[in-house]
């Protein structure tokens, strides 16, 4: 009887340990976290618009009035420059790393002239850029990415049906391009 009790006790201890390992390790290999889904949308450095229905990668707008576009990128080679402008009542962008932790977010209130102009780069690239800043990047917001891979989510609102066209134009013309090295 005592041996059964010890076996159960050892089993409970093992269960606690296994539970801890599962919870801590799960984010690394679930295979269906947001970063994997955004990468499955298509090529990197391209904003893909989402619809109200779930697409193949399993992403959707999530809100009847929100229009979303996602772009996966890698700043290991070159920095990535996010640009967008349009006549929309509200837009916001959030940059996440490959573990889906938020690195940066902003909305149009803190933008210059209502246009999106953000540059994501690694620490060394940022130092180089700040030493010789090209003229077209003088008003760009610089975001440092500790890890090179990540994805960006650009959102705008269409509170009524008449705003749909402007929202679609805003998201379609948004850019997620790699900055050409000089």
């Amino acid at each position: 009887m005592l041996r059964v009790f010890f076996a159960l006790l050892a089993g409970l201890f093992g269960a606690a340990l296994l539970h801890l390992v599962i919870i801590l390790a799960l984010p690394h290999f679930t295979g269906r976290d947001a970063a994997t889904r955004v990468e499955a949308e298509g090529d990197p450095n391209n904003f893909y618009l989402l619809t109200g229905r779930y697409d193949e990668a399993g992403l959707a707008n999530g809100d009847p009035f929100v229009r979303t576009a996602v772009c996966s990128f890698d700043v290991g080679e070159d920095p990535v420059h996010f640009t967008a402008k349009g006549n929309v009542p509200f837009w916001s962008i959030a940059i996440y790393d490959s573990a889906s932790n938020e690195v940066f977010s902003m909305n149009d209130r803190t933008s210059v002239g209502g246009a999106l102009d953000v540059l994501a780069a690694g620490p060394i690239q940022l130092t180089d850029l700040r030493k010789n800043l090209p003229q077209e990047l003088e008003q760009t917001i610089m975001v440092e990415m500790a890890h090179p891979e990540g994805y960006a989510v650009l959102r705008t609102l269409a509170p009524q049906a008449s705003f749909d066209e402007a929202a679609r134009a805003f998201l379609t013309e948004a850019g997620c391009e790699e900055l050409d090295a000089r």
């Binding site: 041996r3 059964v4 010890f6 076996a7 159960l8 050892a10 089993g11 409970l12 201890f13 093992g14 269960a15 606690a16 340990l17 296994l18 539970h19 599962i22 919870i23 801590l24 799960l26 984010p27 679930t30 269906r32 976290d33 947001a34 994997t36 889904r37 955004v38 109200g52 399993g58 992403l59 959707a60 999530g62 809100d63 009847p64 009035f65 929100v66 979303t68 996602v70 009542p89 509200f90 916001s92 962008i93 959030a94 996440y96 573990a99 889906s100 932790n101 938020e102 940066f104 977010s105 902003m106 909305n107 209130r109 803190t110 989510v153 959102r155 609102l157 509170p159 009524q160």
Partner: protein
Amino acid sequence: MRRRSRCRRWRARNDASVVLVGPPFDLPRVGGHIAPWHSTLPESVVTLSTDLIFKFDLQGRKVFRFPLFILITLIVAFGGGIMISLYALDATQGFGAIKLGAWEAFPELQTVDADPYAKSHRARAGKLLYGSAEGLTFTASVDDSGERLNAACHYRISGQTPPARLWTLFTADNAGNPASLQQALPAALNSWTVLRQPDSSFTIDIATRAEPGNWLALPQAGTFRLVLTLFDTPTAGSSGVIDLSMPKLTKIGCGNA
């Protein structure tokens, strides 16, 4: 030679039902038959391993011994560990929620400061979350008195939202996705389309049957949730949470009451 006979002596002393073997070439027999795999292994290995796995009872049948307890331990460890993990992941969304009346939000769910449960939940769900400067999502799955929101009942949201540039409100299923209703039914409202009183407060009726004023339709039956998203709001970083007032969510009646 000495090790083998010591082994045999220990076994003979401690286990009277074990078949004693004779000189090196005499193999264990059960009912007069030699088990085939014995013939290729040295005798000490055979006897030790067979001793651990099974012993022979007085009728010569094999009986399992130690592995029963090892089996109990392993089953409790793996089964219990996996079940606890699945339960913990399904039951909660992690800690760090702010709850204002019936409305619950997780302002740090998308950040690196989220606790491990929240991160696991986030990785399994795979949704695109709102960043801190984008917006904050409040979900109500119960009304102000703590009862689950049910499509058979009629609810009313009244009051003001915390300060935000825009907000949207929609009925959702239990997974947080917009409820699928018929095309023409109003399933969502936002701060630009809601009808307000002169003091800019509003009243929204939520029912399966049409109501005058602001009305949100419901699916025919089952439980549902309400999702209120505040865009460009300082609510998440607000230290004085008590000062924030979310609209009241009250149940007016159920069925035809």
